[in-house]
Symmetry: C2
Subunit: 321 residues, 2 copies
């Protein structure tokens, strides 16, 4: 079997991949990928691939006649998640899986770090040099909280949202989830479309973990920001394109939103002169929520475990199509 591999791997990760694919042929692109998220180019070697591991070019997929399985090296599958591509996969019986399990723990902890940094006012507390008892000090103390009794609404409730809910519940937070369809096995109450406006109006913390797709593009638009509880805090750990950033900026400037914490933006990185960079209480990390030590080795291990399942014709973990 030919496995086309277009993601940047550490030497350890590459060694693990070679060891775990003995008997298979590894094909690498002519232009090496620079990250696990790098935008793919079409590559002539791809045509011979039985399996693709990385971020294969969607156009090239249509022309790869032997392809049976695509294992995407990210949680997000934006560049594949549209009806035409799904139809092609169904027609050609190509299975698609992603790497959600590899990133869910780090993403959930990153989201939690945003929430607790917000309730403890870390950005301003770390800048404040003041004596006990001063007005500034009293204000800072009284503006701090604990999440107890506060309502957190998580939009998108896959592996990341579920893990985040597990981490939040011990704080005594009231956690609810929004997803298109409740499955019945969620660890928190679920609202679907009809309950969304009420849920947005109640939550003090709104955590967006939505994937980017044609249905979620600008999901958070001016109308949705107008529906949120005044003084709520908005977090984005999903994808930047799910937010209308002009509407987000307006919500921050009008102080309808108390703060925004974004790990993802549109584009990435956000230009230095983008108005969100100067917006009050807007905190941005550069798409690092999923990051963790030995990340590409984790990616390779997850792929290799799925490869064994693929060979044995067992159901794949993190299958998305």
């Amino acid at each position: 079997m030919n496995i086309f591999v277009d993601l940047a791997l550490s030497p350890d990760a590459l060694a693990a991949l070679r060891e775990g694919t003995t008997g298979c042929q590894l094909l690498f692109p002519q232009t090496p990928a620079t990250s696990v998220l790098a935008s793919p180019e079409a590559d002539p070697r791809f045509k011979a691939a039985d399996i693709a591991f990385g971020q294969p070019n969607p156009q090239a997929v249509a022309e790869a006649k032997c392809l049976k399985w695509i294992h995407v090296s990210s949680s997000g599958i934006t560049r594949y998640d549209h009806p035409q591509f799904r139809a092609l996969m169904a027609e050609r019986q190509i299975v698609v899986s992603n790497s959600a399990s590899v990133y869910s723990e780090a993403c959930a902890v990153h989201a939690l770090s945003f929430l607790v940094a917000q309730v403890r006012n870390l950005p301003s507390a770390l800048q404040t040099r003041t004596a006990n008892g001063t007005p500034v000090w009293n204000e800072l103390r009284l503006a701090s909280g604990t999440l107890r009794g506060e309502t957190v609404l998580i939009l998108g409730f896959g592996a990341i949202g579920t893990r985040l809910a597990q981490l939040l519940l011990p704080f005594g937070a009231n956690v609810a989830a929004y997803r298109r369809q409740a499955r019945g096995d969620e660890v928190v109450p679920v609202v679907t479309q009809p309950g969304l406006s009420d849920a947005l109006a109640q939550a003090q913390h709104i955590v967006n973990v939505l994937p980017d797709s044609t249905q979620t593009r600008h999901f958070f638009d001016a109308r949705r920001f107008a529906a949120i509880r005044p003084g709520a805090v908005f977090y984005n750990i999903g994808r930047g394109a799910t937010v209308d950033q002009t509407a987000l900026l307006a919500a921050l400037l009008s102080q309808r939103l108390k703060a925004a914490w974004l790990d993802v933006t549109d584009p990435e990185p956000l230009p230095d002169d983008h108005p969100l960079r100067q917006a009050p209480n807007c905190f941005i990390t550069p798409h690092v929520a999923g990051g963790h030590a030995n990340e590409t080795t984790s990616l390779v291990r997850h792929f290799l475990a799925n490869l064994q399942r693929f060979i044995r014709q067992q159901p794949l973990v993190d299958r998305v199509m």
Copy 2:
């Protein structure tokens, strides 16, 4: 009964105090206190007090012949915690309680905010503007973690330490506690003096919640910092005087410590030109860990609940002497 009240209260808190002490006489100092932690002055009205609520002057306590109960408005009881004062309390049969329960939740969440901000590299991530795939970005992602499998040693295991352990366990961290004597009801394994060096050598995260007393003064000295695991992170949520700050600075400069997160220092605030302010990876908040909305109302409620117990001769909550 006369209740001497020397702490700064919000109007709501003062109203709650008046309502809950009907039939008692409230005595206020001539110089109003500026915070719940303010250093007390002797006040002539104190002599008539049956009960003291706040931070009464230790000298004045000796001269207040009617005094039966002191309810301290903080978790820390440093200014009272020495053998002479304890002997006086025993001799005069004065009960001393503190406000640990009021602050434990906020302190534990503050400590947790430090730990997750550290493992997610928030201080540098919030400053980094870089594209996916650049060396800086890869480095930032790979330097991030999740606490899973990491060892956290909590020194001092009262209400704050216990609550912190409860919040940390769902992350998959290995949590251990150090205290003078194990009680057997701790939620995590406990080490005492003989096991301390080994525990310090193993922990990636060392969380100091020790109170300040003659036994804990400079508990973290050069010898203890030399015993820690290289690359560990040090957190202080207890009291500044438990740390030899010269030794802490040396441990940061030599990179034996990867970082330090301090909510307490000695003195407070730390002067602007103190070398710890410039030390690498030293993050300081100005003694706000216990802060939360309606803080003084919480303090009053806790006092009033104890007042009912005191009147009914029931055991007090948070009794310390």
